[in-house]
């Protein structure tokens, strides 16, 4: 993996760099920011996160499991209370709800990890510790013959630029 990383001091120059680099069709781009910003979100124009699907599937599985386990246990070892039905769905809804929340939440975290691609063992290339402090960054993965154009574009907008591989 090789490319150019630019460190920007300001948000608006980062947004302008994103627009310019997208116009240049320079290559895959990763944008770093100390905090999530709507301005960057609008400039990058990504689609909605797919984490929601993990949440939905996890929640449904949890709710189903939450009904299944007490029904199965009640049926396996019947304890009749007050002459009522052995599998009783109203109290089991509480178990189902709790397991929906539990498994849905854990599935959401799993979706976050899978889609955001972490835990990350190494920091790889294209990262600078200043991105968690106050600076913004743009990493463009591109072949050596495109690096000059990318670097020039970033420098024009005030970035500190370096090549990494």
């Amino acid at each position: 993996m090789q490319g150019i990383v630019g460190v920007f001091r300001t948000l608006d120059s980062t947004v302008e760099a994103i627009h310019a680099l997208r116009k240049l069709r320079a290559g895959d781009m990763t944008v770093y920011s100390p905090a999530p910003r709507h301005e960057l979100e609008h400039a990058l124009d990504h689609g909605p996160s797919v984490v929601r699907r993990f949440t939905l599937i996890g929640g449904l599985l949890g709710a189903s499991f939450g009904y299944w386990i007490p029904i199965w246990i009640s049926d396996y070892w019947p304890l009749v209370v007050g002459g009522k039905a052995v599998p009783s769905w109203i109290p089991y809804t509480i178990i189902s709800f709790e397991l929906m929340v539990l498994i849905g939440s854990l599935a959401t975290v799993a979706g976050l990890f899978a889609n955001a691609r972490f835990p990350r063992i190494t920091m790889t290339v294209g990262y600078d510790p200043r991105f968690s402090d106050g600076d913004f960054g743009v990493w463009v993965e591109c072949p050596p013959e495109r690096q000059r154009d990318v670097a020039d574009t970033m420098r024009k907008l005030g970035a500190e630029v370096r090549s990494e591989s």
Binding site: P34, A35, V51, I73, L79, P91, L99, S105, A116, F131
Partner: protein, 493 residues
């Protein structure tokens, strides 16, 4: 991608405090946020002293527990039929304390309440440690605590089969789910902050530790995009969970036929009480912290004012629940309930009931005064009374009911023993120990979320996309409203 909503351009209606539309005017840059918040992590002598006191209290509680195991549960002051004493009172008290954290971090997040940003991390940590503390009490209440796993409802061959129609089984599921989800929510929110600490750390061991804990977080657009969505869903799951957990705890009592317990009011009554007590504990913690850590320009008077309004609202809900409960006892036509109600309010237990009423209903009425809502010393004193009042609320719910059931020959007295008090003290020591360890090892204010409400550095002078121009008739153009200066006139502490 951002976790906070885009600012609205509609500033037509605003609060009556001129500066309230500006979140943190005295915080100028992202770097300052890192400097100020990570700077609080240096241990001090006062912190070591506090930690020592907390551990001492914990040891006193542990010694009392050992004595109880040796002598048997009789030393804990149980007098049949009062077989649930201070332990159940304290269990419900700590579960209740744990509710405000998720309320502030999740529910207020969904409602986009800006004042939560700087206080929610403390409240979340408080939640996790409070539920950890509550989780000790079912074990403390066992004669043979090494058999605690008998309590866990799973199919087994010990002829103890889980009865899923029992509220006690629901309680196990609810509390364990709450503990897991709250801890997950806290940890996920901490990941970007741990990365910021990792990037600043120079000590190799600590740097390695923060690297592992931050899971290789890099602040990339991909990470923020999925993080924001995952955080939203976790908040959405946590919100009904907050309401369900204390409802389920209330079912432990409401599903029985004991006078004073068998009421449909119990679920909302417990939830409102839990939120009220949790906010009280947030004040008890956050007011000294903002002073000792020099974070008055983060946890501002406006934030405390807003939280005090929430406290006042929940106090009114709790007060209404008390009056409803008393009215049903007086007017309901059941001789048993009427007799019980009279005993609780005017008879044997009058002193506990009136401590509860004064601390939870009368004193919080002072928060109708804006001057007192913005007076940190008063807020702190009031929070102590709320903690006291909410502990007594649970005492008033449980002990009078058990000591005054249907048959007069069963009526009895109950008084906690020194073992009960020592274990109560130990629970505060356990909670304080974890909290003190937390505040010096992890950021007490959410760094990344605070950065979201701090204006970013710009090349041009105009605001970035989506950020409205400050309204000159509401805030000063310099962004330094006098209320935020160190000697702020609105703050007397």
């Amino acid at each position: 991608m951002a976790t906070v909503a885009e600012p609205s351009a509609d500033l037509g209606l605003g609060p009556n405090i001129a500066s309230a539309n500006r979140q943190l005017p005295a915080v100028a840059s992202y770097e300052q946020v890192n400097d100020d918040i990570i700077g609080t992590l240096r241990p001090t002598k006062a912190w070591f002293a506090g930690l020592s006191v907390a551990i001492l209290c914990l040891l006193i509680g542990a010694a009392a527990w050992m004595w109880q195991i040796y002598m048997g549960l009789g030393v804990a002051g149980y007098t049949p039929p009062v077989m649930w004493g201070v332990y159940i009172v304290t269990f419900v008290f700590w579960v209740g304390i744990g509710h405000a954290g998720t309320l502030i971090s999740a529910i207020l997040y969904l409602f986009r309440a800006g004042f939560r940003t700087t206080i929610y991390r403390c409240a979340e940590a408080m939640t996790v440690f409070a539920v950890m503390t509550a989780g000790l009490f079912p074990i403390l209440h066992l004669g043979r605590p090494w058999k605690f796993f008998y309590l866990i409802p799973y199919p087994n061959w010990r002829l103890i089969w889980p009865q899923f129609k029992s509220p006690l089984v629901w309680d196990v599921f609810a509390i364990l789910t709450y503990l897991t989800v709250s801890t997950t929510f806290l940890y996920i929110g901490l990941i970007p902050d741990l990365a910021a600490m990792r990037d600043r750390e120079t000590h190799p061991v600590r740097k390695r530790l923060y690297s592992v804990l931050s899971l290789g977080w890099r602040n990339s657009d991909r990470e923020w995009r999925h993080f924001a969505r995952a955080y939203l869903f976790l908040a959405a799951f946590s919100t009904p969970l907050v309401l369900s957990v204390h409802s389920v705890v209330s079912f432990d009592f409401a599903m029985s036929l004991v006078p004073g317990w068998h009421a449909t009011l119990f679920a909302p009554y417990f939830v409102a009480g839990a939120i009220f007590s949790g906010i009280g504990m947030v004040f008890t913690i956050i007011i000294p912290l903002r002073r000792w850590f020099g974070l008055k320009h983060y946890v501002t008077i406006n934030h405390l004012d807003a939280a005090a309004k929430l406290c006042l609202f929940t106090s009114l809900v709790v007060g209404t629940a008390y009056l409803t409960e008393f009215f049903i006892g007086w007017y309901g036509g059941s001789e048993v309930e009427h007799s019980f109600w009279y005993t609780r309010v005017f008879g044997q237990w009058w002193w506990a009931a009136w401590i509860m009423l004064i601390c939870n209903c009368v004193l919080p009425l002072t928060l109708f005064s804006q001057k007192l809502r913005r007076h940190t010393t008063w807020l702190f004193i009031l929070s102590i009374f709320i903690n006291l009042g909410m502990w007594f609320e649970r005492f008033v719910i449980f002990e009078p009911s058990l000591s005054h059931e249907f048959e007069p020959w069963q009526w009895t007295a109950y008084a906690p023993t020194y073992i009960d008090w020592a274990i109560l003290l130990g629970s505060f020591g356990w909670f304080s120990m974890w909290f003190l360890l937390f505040i010096k090892n992890l950021p007490v204010v959410a760094i990344a979320e605070v950065k979201e409400i701090v204006p970013p550095r710009l090349t041009t002078t105009h605001p970035p996309f989506g950020v409205p121009e400050p309204s000159p008739d509401r805030v000063d153009v310099e962004g330094m409203h006098p209320e935020y200066l160190p000697e702020t006139p609105g703050e007397r502490d």
